[in-house]
């Protein structure tokens, strides 16, 4: 569905800037070269907060930056494969743009692969951006991948409330993994992830 970016209801000024980016692409500009300049030209201002539903996708608009939305508009034109280049060969800004935009233009299989790749990302901000504040992980990951993702979120200390649909995807294997992590932390005298008991209690119900 082209024009998905308009569902974010950008303000007139932002929409105008995005239209000029699209015009540049239509005029033959190479997205791989232009993409790096999107944060400079479009800016990093956050969009107004609010839950959005786009088909099966649930997301929080307020974590999106203006340049992320511009990247989505461009990737809708150039395709997910070219968009993936942004993640593979981009700087932090470009990679964040790709993490926001790609899940909206990828097939379920592509998104699974993408999240698997993101799981090993060292930059916690990028890892988080893919796994929280949307239902991307909950809707496409199989149980093993989901469990690995939640374990890493717990490991780095992301609040449980930001993991969309965690309750629906919780399972006894994950419960055991989180209990192990808690035991390891306790033994080391380190703080235990605050979500641990909430998840374990939900499994008892």
């Amino acid at each position: 569905m082209a024009g998905l970016w308009k569902s974010f209801a950008p303000e007139t000024a932002l929409a105008g800037m995005i239209e000029s980016e699209l015009a540049a692409l239509a005029g033959g500009a190479e997205f791989a070269v232009r993409a790096a300049g999107l944060p400079r030209r479009i800016g990093r201002a956050l969009l107004p907060s609010g839950q959005m539903k786009l088909g099966v996708v649930l997301l929080e608009r307020g974590v999106w930056r203006a340049c992320d939305l511009a990247a989505l508009a461009c990737i809708e034109v150039v395709g997910a494969e070219v968009g993936m280049e942004l993640f593979l060969h981009g700087d932090r800004d470009e990679r964040l743009m790709s993490v926001r935009a790609l899940p909206l233009v990828s097939s379920q299989g592509e998104l699974q692969q993408f999240l698997r790749r993101l799981q090993s990302c060292n930059d916690q901000a990028l890892f988080e951006a893919g796994f929280v504040d949307s239902n991307h992980a909950a809707r496409v990951l199989d149980e093993a991948d989901w469990n690995r993702a939640v374990l890493k979120l717990a490991f780095v200390g992301v609040a449980l409330e930001r993991i969309t649909d965690w309750e629906a995807r919780t399972n006894p294997v994950l419960g055991a993994m989180l209990a192990d992590l808690a035991a390891e932390r306790q033994a080391a005298g380190r703080p235990v992830w605050a979500g641990t008991n909430v998840v374990l209690a939900s499994l008892d119900r």
Binding site: E30, A32, V33, R34, A35, A36, G37, P39, R40, L46, S49, E60, G62, V63, W64, R65, L88, H89, G90, D91, R92, D93, E94, R95, L96, N122, D123, Q124, A125, E128, A129, V132, D133, V156, G157, V158, A159, R162
Partner: protein, 298 residues
């Protein structure tokens, strides 16, 4: 105690361990510029260049940020590998994409090494790229046959019509400064522990010529080199009685001005620690364990 912020304008941090970042941070280094160069031995495919460039703009910047240091880059095909027809053209083709990246603040290291005609051709192509992407140049001069290579680099630059004020001509010595003094070029000096230019020789040179249009760096890499050679030179300058203002001009004002002139980066942000931390639910950045909001120190 060193209260002057330090801009290290030439460090190959990919070759250094985290202890180096820690020591540099403790010594007052706020920004490092990592120019793309070779990896100690030739690369055999363009893919190795892509991964190297991606590491410079990606993980290396992230690694530096964990020590409160801003990491920026210069991107180029280095003169050594410019001589390799197996990778040369493909790497030049890659550059426009990397020269648009946010943290890329110069084209470099381009330059001459063995002074071949191919090196000169790649030099000229990359000067044109710098014009197109509105970036300054960081130019490597040969370590052997220094004087002749230095003169040749300078001739190529003058012939190109590139504004000399936007050129850092690096790895200078007591001989080359006579060629460039008063030309507008930013004269770079790489300070090594015991070969080439060392801190006492550098201080002697600064006493003679002053600190105007001069910049010093460690050029630290895989070889015998010292990532602290700039702060060590600062300490020697203090002992020698240099004014704080002229030390600051040398190690902060001049390089910060030079590499921010393109407008690609906001120089004011360089004195605050960089963002290494996650984006919170509201999109603002918080340090792990609850740090301060970016910009709050400014």
């Amino acid at each position: 105690m060193n209260t002057i912020p330090i801009f290290e304008p030439h460090a190959h941090m990919i070759s250094r361990v985290t202890d180096d970042y820690e020591r540099m941070s403790a010594a007052g280094v706020k920004v490092v510029l990592e120019p793309a160069f070779w990896l100690g031995q030739p690369r055999t495919s363009v893919g190795s260049f892509i991964d190297y460039f991606d590491t410079l703009i990606g993980f290396e910047r992230y690694r530096a940020s964990q020590f409160g240091i801003h990491h920026v880059c210069a991107m180029a095909l280095n003169p050594r590998e410019a001589n390799d027809p197996g990778v040369r053209d493909a790497v030049l083709k890659l550059l426009p994409r990397y020269l648009e990246k946010g943290g890329v603040v110069a084209v470099g290291e381009l330059g001459l090494d063995e002074m071949t005609s191919t090196e000169e051709a790649c030099f000229e192509v990359q000067v044109e790229l710098a014009k197109k992407h509105s970036l300054p140049l960081l130019v490597h001069t040969p370590h052997r046959n220094k004087r002749q290579g230095f003169v040749r680099c300078f001739e190529l630059l003058k012939h190109s019509g590139f504004p000399l004020e936007q050129v850092l001509l690096d790895h200078g010595n007591e001989e080359t400064i006579a060629i460039t003094m008063g030309t507008g070029v930013l004269q770079g000096f790489s300070i090594y522990p015991n070969t080439k230019m060392d801190p006492p020789r550098m201080v002697a040179l600064l006493k003679k010529y002053g600190t105007e249009r001069i910049s010093i760096n460690s050029a630290c890499d895989w070889g015998i080199s010292d990532p602290l050679s700039v702060p060590k030179t600062v300490a020697l300058m203090r002992e020698a009685g240099f004014e704080e203002a002229s030390i600051r001009k040398l190690v902060w004002d001049t390089p910060a001005e030079f590499f921010s002139a393109s407008g690609r980066v906001n120089r004011a942000e360089w004195v605050c620690p960089p963002e290494a931390a996650p984006f919170s639910a509201t999109g603002t950045t918080i340090a792990r364990g609850g740090g301060k909001v970016p910009g709050s120190c400014c």
